[in-house]
């Protein structure tokens, strides 16, 4: 704690806090233009200058921590003069096109210009021609850019794409794509969000609506398990009679949260429905006669409650292989750790100085985890070990050690990793004997991970204080998932590591807590809710009864932070909901959200009603969204099983992996997101499979065949190709083990 004064009033700053942060906490206002809470200070605007009693010159409050007893003055004639001059310089030749600017008044430059009363231009500079750049989803107008560098900082420090940089050239400076002619990035659009002026804008949204016309609806993203906070901005569409309101754009509280491209650009997935009583009766009849309901994890907790209620009432089964895999993984996990949930969270990753990622392609599986990793690496210098059969080009800026293991050998790798991390830990004799009994030679040879790689991990993590192990979704469907879970739980229980298991889909965790799932036998009379079935309903694919999509529903999700997050209706839906069907079946409740307070307390829910859940961040970044689930204690009676013989995957192997910004049937039908549905492989893979770039191919999976185009991807290495899963059926990556042995044939060649 450091005591100092601002304008003579005592202020306390905690260690590591800057003058600006302490001042904001204490309620003092210091103007800034380039400051972003979540990045390191850009220090480009110099608007946050303050005077102190220990320095002659002005100092930047955004990057200077206070010293004990320092006297800071934040308003004075001199400071006012300094700041006004900065604003005058910012306004030099800034185009006076505010009337048509896409910022439409929600502009930091406009606010500060008015605040400092800059009404005329006192300086002159020769303007030169600047062209508007079109970078796909993003447009950049250099003449509006004030070079605050927020976009560059956020792209580099938080996202990790490192795709843009500042081209220094005095008055000619501009933001340019880094090492590339055009912007080559994951199109998260965070640069658009942080841009204080109208320089970086969404090309699709640009000039389509003014900020003040948009109704803001706080919600939770419906694409992956991170449960990011976002705001749907909704407006009427046109003058025509019967035209419905639609979502124009998605924004986020960029000061404290980050959103990926799917969240930001993939918002137009709402469906339309009508109240067709005959169809409702059919649906009710279908469920009455069904043996099971099959559903995917794109549903709310409340809907999961309804499905569980139907199961209890009608005695039908519930199929959701993806959530069931997670459920049994976590059950095995809890049998060692004694807690229902894992201990880590996205925030824990951000705070880490040592991170191990194992068994998942994080960049596309869960961008929020990737951003947390990037932040940890950039801000805390975290060591990042990435363990996977495939290297990821997007992670190359962050990963300090890449460990490649053979496909299918996850159990052996985790056993060896656990042995390494648990050496010296206070574990039972039994466990010690288990680890001593591991056949190291066999495991290392089969998994192709050498002893020295584990030693290297142990060495580089020796001095790390906060450590996180991120378990990707590959292992959830592994044959030996339960034992892998137990080994992971060992690591969390007996080391300083906290663990984050990256659940596969939006509400996988919520469903795994609420529903009592059955093993899918792929037979019988099944009703599909957003999934295959004899009778289908939902919002994905060509279903018989349309039910609202996740942006037309209110309800809650459980994110990988174990946080119960509310979401709201952005686009009205006129048809029936699952609750209407349940009502017809005798499970009566007026609203779907009446179930929120009935969510099982035994699983950690706390009985708060939907309307009392907050969904916002405070001015200083306090998370006021929903609530955190209680991590319930359970009996820890699990024992480690012997590591089985490691499987071998020879021949043609593909990996189910969605392209950037694609997750499920919702993202697959959005307008802006790139719908790349090709099989992507390296040159080595192409040679082995005897196919070439652009070839039309047929892939034979054990479950069926797919026809795709093969695309040569120069960023890939090795003999495993990436096959997307978002566009087939219902887009579940995690219904089977993600690696698969397949047969690939060039179409037309077999005849």
């Amino acid at each position: 704690m450091i005591n100092f004064t601002i304008n003579g009033q005592p202020v306390i700053a905690s260690k590591g806090e800057t003058i600006l942060q302490a001042a904001r906490k204490a309620g003092f206002y210091i103007p800034t233009m380039c400051y972003l809470e979540k990045t390191t200070p850009c220090a480009s605007c110099r608007l946050c200058v303050v005077e102190t009693d220990k320095t002659d010159g002005l100092i930047l409050s955004c990057q200077t921590p206070p010293t004990e007893g320092l006297g800071v003055t934040i308003n004075s004639e001199r400071l006012e003069q300094e700041r006004t001059n900065i604003m005058r310089l910012y306004d030099v030749n800034h185009p006076l096109e505010c009337g048509v600017c896409d910022k439409s008044g929600a502009c930091d430059l406009q606010n500060k210009t008015l605040e400092f009363g800059v009404s005329a231009q006192h300086f002159s500079a020769k303007e030169h021609h600047r062209t508007i750049e079109h970078w796909g989803l993003i447009n950049y107008d250099p003449s509006l850019c004030i070079l605050c560098e927020k976009c560059v900082h956020v792209c580099n420090e938080i996202i990790g794409d490192d795709a843009i940089e500042l081209q220094f050239g005095g008055y000619k400076s501009a933001v340019i794509p880094k090492n590339s002619e055009v912007l080559d990035c994951t199109f998260c659009g965070e640069c658009i969000a942080v841009c204080p002026v109208g320089a970086l804008v969404s090309s699709e949204f640009q000039y389509s609506a003014n900020a003040w016309e948009l109704t803001q609806i706080p919600a939770t993203c419906a694409h992956c398990s991170a449960g990011c906070s976002l705001t749907y901005e909704v407006r009427h569409t046109s003058n025509s009679i019967g035209a419905k309101a639609k979502i124009y754009r998605v924004t986020n509280n960029f000061e404290h949260t980050t959103l990926c491209g799917a969240g930001r650009f993939g918002f137009d997935f709402a469906v339309e429905g009508t109240k067709d009583e005959a169809e409702l009766a059919k649906a009710v009849h279908a469920i009455q006669n069904a043996t099971a309901i099959r559903f995917n994890s794109l549903i709310t907790n409340e809907e999961a409650m309804i499905l569980q209620g139907l199961k209890e009432k009608l005695g039908i089964k519930l199929y959701n292989e993806e959530a069931r895999a997670y459920q049994s993984f976590m059950a095995a996990y809890a049998s060692i750790s004694g807690k229902t949930g894992f201990g880590g969270s996205l925030d824990a990753i951000v705070q880490s100085d040592g991170i191990i990622v194992l068994g998942g392609r994080i960049v596309t599986d869960n961008p929020a985890v990737r951003y947390a990793m990037t932040t940890a690496a950039r801000h805390r210098g975290a060591k990042v070990v990435y363990m996977h059969p495939l290297e990821d080009e997007w992670l190359k800026n962050v990963v300090t050690q890449f460990v490649k293991y053979e496909v299918g050998t996850e159990e052996g790798v985790i056993a060896m990793l656990a042995k390494t991390l648990l050496s010296g830990a206070d574990i039972s004799e039994e466990t010690k004997t288990f680890f001593d009994g591991l056949d190291e030679g066999y495991l290392c040879a089969e998994s192709n991970v050498g002893d020295e790689e584990y030693t290297h991990i142990a060495k580089s993590f020796a001095r790390a204080k906060r450590k996180t192990l991120i378990i990707g979704s590959d292992v959830l469907n592994h044959e030996r998932a339960s034992n892998i879970a137990r080994l992971c739980a060992m690591i969390e229980t007996y080391t300083e590591f906290s663990i984050v298991v990256v659940a596969g889909s939006v509400n996988t965790i919520g469903i795994s807590l609420i529903c009592d799932l059955d093993v899918d036998t792929f037979g019988g009379n099944v009703v599909g809710y957003n999934a295959a079935g004899d009778y289908t309903m939902g919002s994905i694919g060509d279903v018989m009864l349309k039910l609202p999509s996740l942006n037309s529903q209110e309800g809650t999700f459980v994110s990988i932070n174990h946080q119960v997050l509310p979401t709201n209706v952005a686009v009205a839906f006129e048809g029936y909901t699952l609750n209407d069907i349940a009502n017809a079946l005798g499970l009566v409740s007026q609203h779907t959200i009446d179930y929120t307070e009935k969510l099982p307390v035994s699983k950690g829910f706390n009985g708060t009603s939907f309307d009392s859940l907050g969904n916002f961040y405070g001015a200083l970044g306090e998370d006021n969204r929903g609530y955190i689930l209680e991590n319930i204690d359970v009996e820890a009676n699990g024992i480690l099983e012997e590591v089985e013989d490691l499987p071998e995957f020879n021949g043609t192997v593909v990996y189910r992996c969605n392209p950037v910004n694609q997750f499920n049937g919702y993202t697959a039908r959005t307008k802006q997101l790139e719908k790349e549905a090709t099989l992507r492989g390296s040159a080595q893979f192409a040679a082995a499979a005897k196919i070439g770039d652009g070839d039309k191919i047929r892939i034979e999976f054990p479950q069926g065949t797919q026809e795709r185009i093969f695309e040569l991807d120069s960023t890939l290495k090795g003999t495993i190709a990436l096959v997307p899963a978002y566009d087939v059926g219902f887009g579940e990556l995690n219904e089977q083990y993600r690696f698969e042995k397949v047969k690939i044939m060039r179409m037309g060649s077999e005849s």
Binding site: G99, S104, S119, Q121, S124, S203, Y207, A209, W212
Partner: protein, 207 residues
Amino acid sequence: MHHEEVFTDRNVSEHSAYYYVDIETYPTTGWDKFKQALKRAVRGELFVGLWVVMREMIKFDIHTVQYPKEKLPIGPRYRAVHKLLRLWESGYERCIGCGLCEKICISDCIRMDTRIDENSRKEVTEYSINLGRCIFCGYCAEVCPELAIVHGGRYENGSEQRAHFVIKDDMLTPLDLLKAGEQSEYPGFGAIIPGSDASVKKTPLAY
């Protein structure tokens, strides 16, 4: 302090300009009423009036305004049906699509749709004013930064369909009229104040 307004004295008195007109007493008995009716009918005063009409008709000296063929001139600042003006030189629409008129409209009758066009400029794709709701307050014309939306002199709002009230093409100056110099600037609300050139601050051009 209580202030009492002094009103003009409208009571009839010697000092006022008002006086009683001389009106014959009304007949009371039936006979008197009969006499009065007979006197008025037989004297043929009706034909005096008819003759005046007849005479003017023959002389073709007609002073009636031939509405709707002919309309009385209306004050230039009168706020009737809106007009959308074009730029004099290029003929482009003046409207830049800023949306201020839509925002300021107190009866919420203006709607517009905009998009980005091929030249990366903001383009107005739809613009409508529901004249069935418009109260002709003139705020839209006043707020318009481009003098694009103004009030015109067309005050007829009769139509078979409400939709006819909202057609953009009816409001926009046709190109041929623009070329013929028929477009007129609006001196009402929102127009440039005479002499405003003098108050424009110049940007220093020292390079």
